[in-house]
Amino acid sequence: MAGYLLRRLIQSTLILLGVSFVTFLLLYVLPADPVRQIAGRSATAQTVENIRAQLGLDQPMLVQYGRYLAGLVQGDMGRSYLQKTEVATLIAARLPASLLLMAGGIACELLIGLTLGIVAAVFRGRPLDQGLMVVSFVAVSAPQFVVGLLLLYVFAVQLGWFPIGGYGTAAHLVLPALTLGIMGSGWYSRMMRSSMVEVLRQDYIRTARAKGLGRARVLIRHALPNAILPIIAMIGIDIGIFIGGIVVVESVFGWPGIGQLAWQAIQRVDIPIIMGVTMVSATAIVLGNLLADLITPLIDPRIKLR
């Protein structure tokens, strides 16, 4: 187990190293010039060159990357070009909001998706199943900004149940989390349905029924743990898609998270922030996958980590 963890952590570090290099390279070859953004349009060529030298952007790409990496190892993610603040400080201030949104989104996604999937599987082939699968298809196809605006209009503007935007209370979280979770819930309901249908066909389900167990117990104790196994691995992978969603949802709802930070930074070519957000997201994805792999053997005794 300790050996497994150690190896996975080494793997993870290598993955993050790769991500940092590729992102750095992409930003380097980008035609947009960050120095122009900092200096403004009226700056003289001399000023521009001075700023470039000051930021070290006149160095070869590998030297720049080496410096960045050296900083990163010491916990220094650099300074924002435009906000003149440590990137680490900026991210630390906004990360909790994003993590909260993400947790809310995953909760919505699983709660809605798994429930619909289980219900559809139990009523497979019947009208309810077909109806739910249409609903899930709509959920998968609806773009998040449309869903977000629709929810805002109905529940915040018309009904006034939830605040229109902002951050702070539980009520603020509901609509953004729902927006973030709906698309995934469509995916998960379909996956859960097929996984559950497969499990319900298994011999051990027949055994459980032959023992005289009630339907609910067969479903929850015998079918669910087996059906959810492939879903867990999926959640780990899904965190990447989620981070993309966060950028959209935070913009729609004015949620003060790293998605907004990233969006602003991209518009202004603020490379240290883009790098910082990318690295934090990549870390989240890597850790999410590791976590999913660690949870699986807790449910399935046949899987041993080594």
């Binding site: 300790a2 050996g3 190896r7 298994q202 011999d203 051990y204 027949r206 055994t207 459980a208 029924r209 032959a210 023992k211 005289g212 167990l213 009630g214 117990r217 104790r221 015998h222 743990p225 087996n226 449910i299 399935d300 005794p301 046949r302 080594r306």
Partner: protein, 593 residues
């Protein structure tokens, strides 16, 4: 078809426990109602074993599910009655049926490997069954479960309670299933092919066990099986079914000595019997200078486990020093229980697993071959597997499937390949117009014929039949075996015939090797091994084969403590090699400690 119920209660009881009267079970498929079981009637008395025998599609499993109230949604009992203690089971509302299921009537299934939930411990699955019916504490349920495990002779029941199903062998799992089914002392136990998936020695143990438990508890058993040997050994009375209808119902002795119906006679005569092989006189093919296949001290090992550095900790000694040769035109049998390495030898012969030692095909050593040379070997050795449905691509017409080996090896033009495939179809008893159909349109026996045709396409010198007839009904099995024999006489192909069924092996092979834990423990001609078995394991295998003759009931065989020993050893250790001794005319027997 009317049948007379001549049987009376064996133990003097007057009332039938279960009385099935003119029961019809139908499936509704797209609005069409079609009967799966029609007009079935039988009675079962306390303490009695009734066998329902029949081939696949006879409706025997549907009957058992109907009694348990576990039919699929679109299948229902459409007429007739099934009275258990006077209560009509199909009329029982689900809530009351649920209370009876597992308590008053219990069931065990064919596949012990998949019938237990992989994510729960044996203990939790057993106590759950008990607590579903009796308001007892966790602790009391636990003791009852341990007691039930002890009753089915599971060693160390306390430890088993904490184990998961995958940590137990198939035989152990079936014991757990039996313990679970009998924990609440049901009046009726339905055993649906309970030993079909088990090795023959384990089958014998499980059947013995069921008989003993029945004597202890007085449970009535419905034994559903396709195996007439199992019927003869275990049943008091027999119902023979075919295509959903009851053909014949009779006490077991009467059925075997004086079957009334033509179908029953055909079924009985198709059963391969141990001891009948000797009647088939066929001279051994002469020993050729170059055998089609030869193994000398062949080894196949798989490394498993991983330590801190990811290095393996254990090694499976799947094949440990096997030496044998297969002559042109002969049928060489390889027998032994699951995990003994017989299929691994087959894989080594076609290069599917890496091996050590010497393995050669048609005089060419497999080790150190180039990929081109290995491809050439593939032309000489072909395989026919157990499950023909799984062995055929469902999206390829069977004509394409048979012609594919020619395509892969770039032989002939499209027209020539088609002509060759058509020839092969005719040869295995199929017609040319069937070539454009897909595998699902054929029966199991026809599919296996297609697989044989495909194996023949490259005119191989050796065909490996790995349990090729095990999944087929006995009548179909006999036809496929006849076909294989004809093809051999005609083309001189050699077979490596791998099977767990000793009776089938005796009927088809010229020579054979008995494998145990990766090593050959006895080898010789059919007459030597079957007529004069020397190694204790060979005898044990032969003794375990059920005899389709109810007059010859055998005493229970002595219980083997626990499971088979394992072929898994820590790295650095290896099992002791057995030494084969020639006791005359190349009859090789391992010396026993």
């Amino acid at each position: 078809m009317m049948t007379t119920h001549t049987a009376t209660a064996p133990s003097g009881a007057t009332a039938a426990l279960l009385s099935v009267r003119d029961m019809t079970v139908s499936v509704r498929d797209r609005g069409v109602v079609r009967p799966l079981v029609a007009g079935l009637s039988f009675e079962l008395y306390p303490g009695e074993t009734l066998a329902i025998a029949g081939e696949s599609g006879s409706g025997k499993s549907i009957t058992s599910l109907a009694l348990m109230g576990l039919l699929p949604n679109n299948v229902t009992v459409t007429s007739g009655q099934a009275l258990l203690d006077g209560v009509n089971l199909p009329d029982l509302p689900e809530a009351r049926m649920r209370a009876w299921r597992g308590a008053k009537l219990a069931m065990i299934f064919q596949e012990p490997m998949t019938s237990l939930n992989p994510v729960h411990t044996i203990g939790s699955q057993m106590t759950e069954a008990i607590r579903a019916h009796e308001a007892v504490s966790r602790g009391a349920a636990r003791s009852a479960a341990i007691e039930a495990l002890r009753r089915v002779r599971i060693p160390e029941p306390e430890r088993r309670m904490k184990q998961y199903p995958h940590e137990l062998s198939g035989g152990m799992r079936q014991r757990v299933m039996i313990a679970m089914a009998l924990a609440l002392r049901p009046a009726l136990l339905i055993a649906d092919e309970p030993t079909t998936a088990l090795d023959v020695t384990v089958q014998r143990e499980v059947l013995d066990l069921l008989r003993e438990l029945q004597a202890e508890t007085g449970t009535a058993i419905i034994l559903i099986t396709h195996d007439m040997g199992v019927v003869a050994e275990s049943a008091d009375r027999v119902v023979v079914m075919r295509q959903g209808r009851m053909i014949e119902s009779a006490p077991v002795d009467t059925l075997f000595t004086a079957p009334k119906q033509e179908y029953t006679r055909a079924l009985l005569s198709a059963v391969p019997r141990l001891g009948s092989g000797a009647a088939r006189a066929k001279p051994l093919p002469p020993t050729a200078s170059v055998p089609v296949a030869r193994l000398v001290g062949a080894q196949v090992h798989f490394d498993i486990g991983a330590n801190f550095l990811g290095r393996p900790t254990h090694r499976v000694h799947a094949v440990e020093g096997a030496t044998l040769d297969i002559q042109p035109g002969e049928t060489f049998g390889l027998v032994g229980e699951s995990g003994c390495g017989k299929s691994t030898i087959a894989k080594a012969l076609v290069g599917l697993v890496p091996h050590a030692g010497h393995v050669e095909v048609d005089g060419k050593a497999l080790g150190g071959l180039t990929s081109l040379g290995r491809r050439q070997i593939c032309r000489d050795v072909q395989m026919v597997f157990q499950d023909p449905m799984a062995a055929l691509d469902p999206r390829m017409t069977v004509g394409e499937a048979v012609a594919e080996p020619l395509l892969i090896h770039g032989i002939g033009t499209a027209a020539e390949r088609h002509a060759r495939a058509a020839d092969l179809f005719a040869r295995v008893g199929l017609t040319q117009d069937q070539m454009t159909r897909y595998p699902h349109e054929f029966s199991g026996g026809q599919r296996q014929r297609i697989c044989v045709a495909r194996a023949l396409a490259l005119k191989p010198k050796l065909i490996i039949c790995d349990e090729s007839v095990s999944a087929l009904d006995v009548s179909v099995q006999a036809q496929v075996l006849d076909l294989l024999e004809e093809l051999q006489a005609e083309m001189g192909v050699a077979y490596l015939f791998i099977s767990h069924d000793m009776a089938v092996v005796e009927n088809v092979v010229d020579r054979l090797a008995v494998m145990y834990l990766g090593q050959i423990v006895e080898m010789g001609t059919r007459d030597q091994v079957f007529g004069n078995p020397q190694h204790s394991y060979t005898r044990r295998l032969l003794d375990a084969v059920p005899i389709p003759d109810p007059q010859r009931k055998r005493p229970p065989q002595p219980q083997r403590p626990g499971d088979l020993p394992s072929p898994i050893w820590p790295i650095g250790k290896a099992p002791a090699r057995v030494h084969l001794r020639d006791i005359g005319d190349n009859h090789l027997v391992a010396q026993e400690a």
